[in-house]
């Protein structure tokens, strides 16, 4: 890499030093524009043969590991890789059909569950404290089955007697024995029917894809969401904790069937809010990774440009970016390390095998990312070296310009038609400044100085205003690591400055 700097690379026309992409193009160009010299043309053609050999040989001996294997350049790729681009194969979706069937089936469950929830809500509404009144209230909402119709408990099929009394489920009104019923505490019942505001709002996830069941609930009694405290575990565990201290007033007796339906629903709700800590870590890590790889891309571009001695980008900017990347790398490393040890010290609830494996794999993938992406970031030239590089480039450009001038003069002496063609050469002569596109930035480009808006008085010279605007833009672009934009903006600023300068000069001379 270092050796190539003194030499211009590519398929350069020996007369006008234009770079061409392929030997064919160069030969064609030569035939079109410099066809007056058949000898040069011939030597040019010979040269390609020699150059090709030389280049190939050089590649073989090249010290750069980037070429990894010497044989790569020698062998052509397999013919299959040259086959025309293809598109993704046939796909068939069954999602619609699947969901149709599923909804048809689940509707039955969900209507039943919804019915229970509506009843529960009504029961809780204005619930009298007096046991007798309460019974009336309960029976008014849910019709109870007549005791006489039931001889055996429908669940355990045992007969009723003094010791095994009949109980009504408050939600469906059916009769069963004490063992086959469960108590639902009022507190939990309230949680089930109340909107999510009881719990943290942050856990609410969009419900657009939730099935019909929920929509029915919402239409029926205006419930949006059900939630419960994360500590409560499954409903069953809650239900088993019958709070004896407060007596029967504090809960409803319900049958196991109804309990199961409610429980299933609760579980499903809970799943939406159940987001363990590892997810947060992971999301953060991914965000860092994304940022880092963007920065690395930018950095590589800057690195190449700087090593060429170009002044498009600032050396300090690149250094800052490098530090930023390193910091991001550290963060990624740190987070992934934390993920990998997550919960391993927890004694009562140690993570299971699969979870451990997951955390380990996340860590491994982060390591791979760091190794492949971030460690490959190459060091920048020192300031001294950079100055040298710049000088070298300057020399190169000067030499080229001088060479071109010389050629020009030679050419000038030639015939007129020839000269017309020569102007073409001049036009495409690459000059750093002129090639800079004049980028006019406006809000529509996606970002603007929202916080750093210019606070200049409007009475100021429009050019000065423009310049201060640009400075604000540059500052912001730099903060956002958009070094490409920094480069264009800076060149714009320079232009403005020079315009301003000349204007002032002329003003002064005028005045």
């Amino acid at each position: 890499m270092a050796g190539s700097e003194e030499v211009l690379e590519g398929f350069l026309c020996p007369i006008c030093v234009t770079d061409f992409k392929a030997p064919v193009q160069l030969t064609k160009h030569f035939e079109d524009f410099h066809n007056d010299d058949p000898e040069i043309l011939k030597s040019l053609k010979d040269l390609f043969g020699k150059a090709k050999k030389k280049i190939l040989k050089q590649d073989e001996m090249s010290c750069s590991f980037a070429n990894s294997v010497p044989s790569t350049t020698r062998l052509q790729r397999s013919p299959e890789s040259n086959w025309e681009p293809q598109e993704i194969g046939v796909m068939r979706s069954h999602t619609k059909y699947f969901k149709e069937i599923r909804n048809m089936r689940l509707e039955r469950y969900s209507t039943e569950t919804n019915k229970l929830l509506i009843r529960l809500d009504k029961l809780l509404n204005n619930l009298p404290t007096d046991p007798v009144d309460r019974k009336v209230h309960e029976r008014a909402i849910v019709p109870w089955i007549d005791d006489k119709d039931v001889k055996l408990c429908p669940i355990c099929a045992k007969s009723f007697h003094v010791a095994r009394r009949k109980h009504h489920c408050r939600l469906c009104g059916a009769v069963m024995c004490h063992n086959c019923t469960i108590f639902l505490s009022l507190q939990d019942a309230k949680k089930m029917t109340s909107p999510v505001s009881v719990q943290d709002d942050s856990a609410v996830s969009p419900t657009s894809e939730r099935p019909i069941s929920e929509r029915i609930v919402r239409a029926g009694i205006g419930l949006t969401k059900l939630a419960r405290s994360p500590s409560s575990g499954s409903l069953n565990s809650v239900l088993s904790l019958v709070n004896d201290s407060t007596g029967s007033e504090q809960h409803f007796r319900i049958c196991t069937h109804c309990a199961n339906l409610l429980d299933a629903r609760e579980k499903q709700k809970a799943k939406h809010f159940d987001k363990p800590i590892v997810c947060q870590f992971y999301e953060k890590m991914r965000a860092y990774m994304k940022e880092a790889s963007q920065h690395v891309k930018m950095y590589n571009k800057m690195w190449e440009s700087l090593n060429e001695g170009e002044s498009t980008y600032n050396l300090e900017d690149a250094q800052a970016l490098r530090i930023k990347i390193a910091k991001l790398g550290e963060n990624i490393d740190l987070i992934s390390k934390r993920i990998s040890v997550l919960g391993t010290r927890c004694v009562e609830n140690p993570p299971q095998d699969q979870e451990l494996r997951l955390h380990h794999m996340v860590r491994v993938s982060a390591m791979i990312f760091l190794k492949e992406e971030l460690l490959s970031v190459q060091a920048l030239p020192s300031e001294q070296r950079y100055a040298e590089l710049q000088k070298e480039r300057q020399r190169r450009i000067e030499a080229r310009i001088a060479y071109e001038r010389q050629l020009e003069e030679e050419q000038r002496e030639r015939s007129k038609e020839q000269r017309r063609k020569e102007t073409w050469n001049l036009e495409i002569r690459p000059t750093v400044k002129e090639n800079q596109p004049n980028v006019v930035l406006d809000q529509s480009q996606g970002w603007g100085p929202s916080s750093v808006a210019p606070i200049m008085p409007s009475s100021m010279d429009p050019i000065i205003e423009q310049m201060s605007n640009l400075r604000a833009y540059i500052k912001q672009a730099r903060a956002d690591c958009r070094y490409d934009e920094v480069a264009t903006l800076e060149s714009n600023l320079k232009e403005l400055q020079s315009v301003y300068f000349t204007m002032k000069q002329s003003n002064n001379s005028d005045g």
Partner: protein, 562 residues
């Protein structure tokens, strides 16, 4: 028509459809192989897939609700059952289900009814139902596809769905030609046409010229898989066996731990990609170059003294580690190959094999075989293979001495199983079963080749043999393939010369044939050929195939000859 690209498209789509977040990939045995052939672990990590589980694993654990589960399975009865169970008691938060082939509506209904917790988000068919070994080579991983010289129904079904998925993944609806002499080829062709017409909606593609699906039978060319191979990939498979791109080296003495099992994947190993079709001698040369270069670097590496220097070195040469890994891997593999070649005198064996397959000099060849049988340093299996080649070649030759050779084998103490295999191969692919005169063809080809090689001065006696497939495909490309031996299925015929060709070999193909197809692709720009087989054979697996194929049929050869 690049098979690897086709499959990668599918897998990428799968991992993208579920959005960002940690994912687990739930697969069955076969889809696991399909995916592992395509991606290395680090590549799949990039797609945020961190766990790989088998659907048929019996471990029931709590599961991780914060994971997205991508299910990629074949639509088999057992898999559907497992998946129904999984959905009834879901271990993960959401499910994205992809079937590798066409699934019956009834099965989807079953699944939908099991999804009581509404965890399923997507259900699709993505036709990634074959093992893509190279861009032009696929296998279905069926080691023994026939029984009693007829299709095993299970394997026929798998083969049909595999081929259908190949066609769908590259969006081709072909004309079908099949080998007339083979009952199995005809049956497969008919089955495929059945599916094509049944699923005609899926097979409506805009294609400039329809491709040809050519179905051939291994029985027409039993010689190719019997030969020792000398190109890198084929040789590794013959001597060390490649299984899902992996080579087991654990039997090698003093092998380091990380080289117990090496991965040879052209997708991820540039050295391998560049050298898999080179012959052994050339590989040796390249390896030497690679080592020289590496040592040059290593020396340079040693000069690095301070920690800062080292850091600098790593920063400048991030590929250093990668390269060193490649070097030691290939040095080990090539070293093992050459020690095997030496130990079993494979050059000597191979020379005679090539002569037997390409030349007709009966008495001299018989003499040489006898010598090798009596040479105790030659492996049993190698002499048996020689006798097989002899038997195939001189089966109808008036003065053949198959029985004499068999007696020699028995005298040497070669196991009955191997001796029986000689009859089995005649049963499998005797002169009556073949539609081409395999050895006459070779003889003619040999003469022209000798002339040509004599001129250029390069003659490699170990690679004289070219597979029959080469000739068949060349004829097909030129539009000269006989309509008698390879008829079209149905009345439609193609008037133009074919451009896209899919060859499928019942009974397994070989890496030598893969190389042949590779070369044909290279020589004929504009023509694209894909090769597939029920499996990729080496001689050992081929002998197993023969044994299976001929089990349960009357052994007329034994009776005739004894």
């Amino acid at each position: 028509m690049n098979l690897i690209t086709a499959l990668k498209f599918y897998i990428t789509r799968m991992t993208e459809e579920s959005g960002p977040g940690m994912k687990v990939l739930l697969m069955d045995k076969q889809t696991t192989s399909i995916v592992s052939l395509l991606y290395s672990q680090s590549e799949i990590f990039l797609k945020e897939v961190y766990l790989f589980e088998r659907i048929d694993a019996n471990v029931r654990n709590e599961g991780l609700k914060h994971l997205k589960c991508i299910v990629f399975i074949r639509p088999t009865k057992e898999n559907i059952e497992c998946l129904c169970n999984e959905l009834r008691y879901p271990k993960y938060g959401t499910y994205y289900i992809y079937f590798s082939n066409i699934i019956a509506k009834a099965d989807i209904k079953l699944l939908a009814e099991s999804d009581e917790q509404e965890v399923v988000r997507e259900v699709h068919e993505y036709y990634a139902d074959y093992l893509a070994i190279s861009p032009h080579l696929f296998s279905l991983g069926i080691n023994t596809c026939s029984q009693g010289l007829l299709w095993n129904p299970v394997h026929l079904h798998r083969t049909v769905s595999g081929l259908i998925s190949v066609l769908l993944s590259i969006k081709k609806c072909p004309y079908i030609r099949y080998q007339n002499s083979s009952e199995m080829a005809k049956r497969l062709a008919e089955k495929i046409r059945e599916v094509l017409s049944k699923e005609s909606n899926s097979f409506e593609f805009k294609q400039d010229s329809p491709p040809i699906l050519l179905i051939v039978d291994r029985r027409d060319d039993p010689v190719t898989p019997l030969l020792n191979q000398w190109t890198y990939q084929a040789m590794v498979h013959e001597l060390l066996t490649i299984n899902n791109n992996r080579v087991n080296l654990s039997h090698v003495k003093g092998i380091s731990k990380e080289l117990r099992e090496v991965v040879l994947s052209a997708e991820h190993d540039e050295f391998y990609a560049n050298n898999l079709y080179l012959n052994f001698g050339e590989i040796g040369q390249t390896i030497k170059e690679l080592m020289d270069e590496f040592q040059k670097k290593a020396k340079k590496h040693q000069k690095v003294e301070s920690i800062a220097d080292m850091k600098n070195f790593v920063e400048t040469y991030p590929l250093f580690k990668k390269l060193s890994g490649t070097v030691s891997k290939h040095v080990t593999v090539v070293g093992e190959l050459s020690s095997l070649v030496e130990k079993h005198h494979l050059l000597q064996v191979s020379e005679l094999e090539q002569e037997l397959s390409c030349q007709s000099d009966h008495s001299m060849q018989l003499q040489k075989i006898k010598e090798l049988i009596n040479n105790q340093q030659i492996r049993e299996i190698d002499v048996v293979r020689l006798v097989m080649l002899y038997a195939l070649h001189y089966e109808k030759y008036a003065n053949n001495d198959i029985n004499g050779l068999l007696n020699l084998l028995k005298n040497r103490g070669v196991s009955d199983k191997y001796v029986k295999l000689v009859y089995n191969i005649l049963e499998y692919s005797g002169i009556n079963a073949r539609q081409n005169n395999l050895f006459d063809r070779e003889a003619v080809a040999k003469i022209t080749k000798k002339l040509f090689k004599g001129l250029s001065g390069v003659d490699n006696i170990y690679t004289q043999h070219t597979p029959l497939l080469n000739e068949t495909l060349e004829d097909l490309i030129k539009g000269k393939l006989s309509l008698q031996t390879f008829p079209y299925l149905g009345s439609t015929m193609m008037s133009k010369k074919p451009q896209d060709i899919i060859v499928f070999m019942i009974g397994g193909t070989t890496y030598e044939e893969s190389l042949t197809v590779h070369n044909l692709n290279k020589q004929n720009p504009g023509i694209k050929i894909i090769l597939g087989g029920t499996t990729i054979h080496n001689s050992a697996s081929f002998l197993e195939e023969i044994q299976h194929a001929t089990s349960g049929i009357l052994t007329k050869y034994k009776n005739n000859n004894n």
